[in-house]
């Protein structure tokens, strides 16, 4: 017990740094930031595995030792308990008067044999295991609550089950992320994910074959509460799914409401806007036309995106764009979005020319633009204002470099311009597969029920002894509990009362 206790306290202590230092598993960007902020300290912490506390040598050793000691504890106890289950209650103590709930009844209305037989039946009916002893005095020894120990063993064993389910099952999990723009398909193969985290035993053939198209992504905004106007209150992604050999089916994914698909689950994690942008170069050729997902920077979806036109002539063109679904101005004059919906959409673009640095074959992040080898020609300190576009508008690039168009995704013929569907939305999906979770849950619930039984079923021994004294019988009652049991004395008293009733012993 002492080992278990010390290891438990050590485990609690060891988990603390995992909450104070950012962890690679849950907060990788935090770790990068930590290295930037504390360049001297970070490598030391890293050497101590403090950025990976929960997979570190020292944390793992503690919980493995704990579980080793747990297994070493549970096995002999189970054996012992199985024996105890088959052993009848122990002999009645010679003297009961020191025991809790002790009381006596003096009577001439009955004799010892009748009294003990009646106590035996009473105790039996209340779920006690009973045994009558015939020594100097006739007595009955009774015990109940073997379930308490059973519950305790179930609790501890199920904890081992949880650990095994997590440890083994975790190897078969995978999680992948993918940004899908409205109208675009996703095919469930490794190369179609933007990021993917496989478990140890993952193999690409484990990915179920399906194709999913994001038909529509809609957001509902708060309209009434003036404290929270425009606050998003519901996100809905409508998808159609194709599984080989089956007709196309439709489904929805909401936050907290994943879509189950062939053993995987599709979760909705994030969303944003994806403007369609076309760039023509100085020679009049279309150098770029694509839908570009812009990454949200704040709650009102001020978003940032990058456009790279490597084929533009005479020089490559790059742009850093900001998109404001509902453009507004800060007191400083800077633009910001004041609502997440498309009420007053505006795109601004800083334009660069020169070498995009993507011809050397090194893959570049689409969510980044390396401007080191480039010259800025619009926006910032160039003296030329950044390009500003509304959906459907085209503007010339400076220096005769060409033009850029912010395509309207839903060109309305009418004059009254409604921007509602002018820019496509994208949704970020997480597709996960975790065969262990059912097991983990089952063991956790088993453990919880074991705990309830172990803590709340009292383990009690109760004795009734009948001592014959010159013509009368003295009945003695007492009990004993394992652990804290506030109900023991009332239970013994209650037994005594019912026993007297059954024997018709009057109150004295």
């Amino acid at each position: 017990m002492r080992t278990a206790l010390l290891l438990l306290l050590l485990l609690a202590l060891a988990a603390v740094p995992g909450s104070l230092v950012p962890q690679r598993s849950s907060n990788p960007n935090g770790v990068i930031q930590y290295f930037k902020d504390n360049p001297d300290l970070a490598p030391i912490l890293d050497a101590l595995q403090l950025f990976d506390v929960f997979t570190s040598m020292w944390f793992s050793s503690i919980y493995l030792l704990l579980f080793l000691s747990l297994i070493g504890c549970v096995i002999p106890r189970t054996a012992h308990h199985l024996r105890a289950l088959r052993t009848p209650p122990p002999k009645t103590p010679a003297r009961l008067e020191r025991l809790p709930g002790f009381s006596t009844v003096e009577t001439t209305d009955t004799d010892a044999a009748v009294a003990i037989e009646s106590a035996r039946t009473l105790l039996r009916k209340s779920g006690y295991r009973v045994r009558v002893f015939d020594g100097a005095n006739l007595s009955v020894s009774a015990e109940r609550g073997y379930l308490r120990e059973t519950g305790n063993l179930v609790f501890h064993t199920a904890l081992i089950g949880v650990l095994f389910a997590v440890g083994i099952g975790g190897g078969f999990t995978y999680t992948g992320q993918r940004v899908i723009v409205e109208g675009q398909p996703f095919v469930n193969i490794l190369s179609d994910y933007s990021s993917f985290t496989p478990g140890r035993f993952f193999d690409e053939s484990m990915l179920p074959p399906f194709r999913m198209v994001l038909d529509d992504f809609s957001v509902e905004y708060e309209q009434e509460n003036v404290n929270a106007l425009g606050f998003p209150i519901d996100y809905t992604a409508d998808v159609s799914v194709t599984i080989p050999g089956e007709p196309v089916s439709r489904g929805t994914v909401k936050v907290n409401q994943p879509l189950p698909l062939l053993g995987s689950d599709v979760f909705l994690l994030g969303n944003g806007y994806a403007p369609r942008i076309t760039v023509t170069d100085g020679e009049g050729n279309v150098a770029f036309t694509d839908i570009v997902p812009f990454l949200p920077q704040d709650a009102n979806l001020t978003s940032m995106g990058f456009i790279k036109a490597p084929d533009a002539l005479p020089e490559q063109i790059g742009m850093i764009g900001f998109f404001y679904p509902t453009a507004g101005e800060l007191s400083t004059g800077a633009l910001t979005s004041i609502h997440a919906d498309l009420l007053n959409p505006l795109l601004t673009l800083n334009v660069y020319t020169g070498d995009l640095g993507i011809d050397d074959g090194i893959p570049r992040n689409v969510y980044q633009l390396d401007v080191d080898g480039m010259t800025q020609v619009a926006g910032g300190d160039t003296g030329i204002e950044a390009i500003k576009l509304r959906p459907g508008e085209t503007a010339p690039l400076p220096n005769g470099l060409g033009t850029v168009t912010f395509e309207d995704a839903n060109p309305a013929p009418s004059m009254a311009k409604d921007y509602a569907d002018s820019v496509l939305r994208f949704a970020t999906f997480d597709i996960t597969h975790d065969p262990s979770r059912g097991w983990v849950l089952a063991f956790a619930l088993l453990s919880l029920s074991g705990l309830l039984i172990a803590l709340f079923i009292p383990r009690r021994r109760v004795w009734v002894k009948a001592i014959e004294t010159s013509g009368a019988v003295r009945l003695e009652y007492a009990g004993l509990a394992r652990g804290y049991d506030p109900g023991l004395e009332p239970a013994v008293n209650d037994l005594q009362q019912r026993h007297r009733q059954q024997l018709n012993i009057k109150d004295t």
Binding site: S19, S25, F102, T175, V226, A444, T508
Partner: protein
């Protein structure tokens, strides 16, 4: 309508705080009076033992706890005030819930409101089982601090629920966590008095009022019972939280800061339960563990939510 209800809610909460303050003062006066009056054994445990020792015949068996001496007038007034304050407190929670047409436990302010309401609620209900009114100063004091910090530092007007929080698991998770917190709070209070009482029983200098309180053994058992029920709730909190995380984020456990602390608290209390069954750790040492466990609960709420970033922080201050 929403905003009016929210304002009424705040008003009732302030009223509750006023009444709790009065109750706090009354409890404090009661404590002061106990310190000066001459000791009378009121401990249920010790009286029982006396009757046991006499080996009383059946008819003498007295199972009813002894009556409260009428000298504890201030305690009775204080307790009535607590009940009255709680009615306002509960009304405040209900109005806040009606204002946003969702259970009011989606941000720090609301969590302060609901958890303190449950602490007081459990404190009231538990009196049917055991007379623990002597914890009144501690409970009302703690509640006043929670509500004070909640209304002053964490208050936010009613907002619609962010989609991520719109889940039945949130309702279950938070209510069970609050119930667990309430029981841990009471357990820690009992453990503190247990420590003081053990000091007195060891013959050290101590407060006179301790003579009017249950003995250390009895307190230890009470600590154990409340804490262990709290532990069951906490275990369930852990499971419900994991289910919700799985439904929401696609993984049931990710060692997010808040998850780390929920785990730490659970392990500390598992340690406490073991300590109670380990030779040399019963009594004082285990009482310290019950107190440390509750400090971790407070830390989890007050520090982790506010200062340490994590996925859970989007529940908003």
């Amino acid at each position: 309508m929403t905003l009016i209800l929210d304002e009424y809610s705040l008003l009732t909460v302030y009223t509750a705080m006023g009444i709790y303050t009065l109750a706090f003062v009354m409890f404090a006066i009661d404590m002061a009076k106990r310190s000066t009056s001459k000791p009378v054994p009121v401990s249920v445990g010790s009286q029982r033992r006396q009757s046991d020792a006499q080996g009383a015949v059946a008819t003498l068996q007295e199972t009813e706890p002894p009556r409260q001496p009428s000298r504890y007038k201030f305690e009775r007034i204080a307790f009535s005030l607590v009940v009255l304050g709680w009615v306002f407190h509960a009304a405040g929670v209900a109005l806040r819930g009606m204002a946003q047409s969702f259970v009011p436990w989606a941000n720090m302010y609301e969590f302060a409101l609901i958890s303190s309401a449950l602490i007081v609620g459990v404190f009231i209900v538990i009196q049917w089982w055991q007379n623990l009114k002597f914890l009144g100063v501690y409970i009302t004091g703690f509640t006043l601090i929670t509500l004070g910090v909640g209304t002053v530092n964490f208050y936010v007007p009613v907002k619609p629920l962010p989609p991520a929080l719109d889940s039945y698991w949130l309702i279950i998770h938070v209510i069970v966590a609050s119930l667990g917190t309430a029981l841990f709070a009471i357990g820690a209070g009992l453990a503190i008095i247990q420590l003081l009482q053990a000091r007195r029983e060891a013959g050290k200098k101590s407060l006179a009022l301790l003579k009017t309180l249950p003995d250390a053994m009895k307190l230890e058992n009470l600590t154990y019972f409340t804490t262990v029920i709290g532990f069951v709730f906490w275990t369930f909190t852990l499971i419900a939280g994991s289910i919700w995380a799985e439904r929401s984020w696609g993984r049931y456990w990710g060692w997010d800061t808040k998850e780390v602390w929920t785990f730490i608290i659970w392990v500390i209390y598992a340690g406490y339960i073991h300590a109670r069954a380990t030779r040399g750790w019963r009594g004082t040492r285990s009482a310290w563990l019950a107190i440390i466990g509750f400090l971790a609960v407070i830390f989890n709420y007050a520090i982790v939510n506010v200062f340490i970033p994590g996925l859970h922080s989007y529940s908003g201050l």
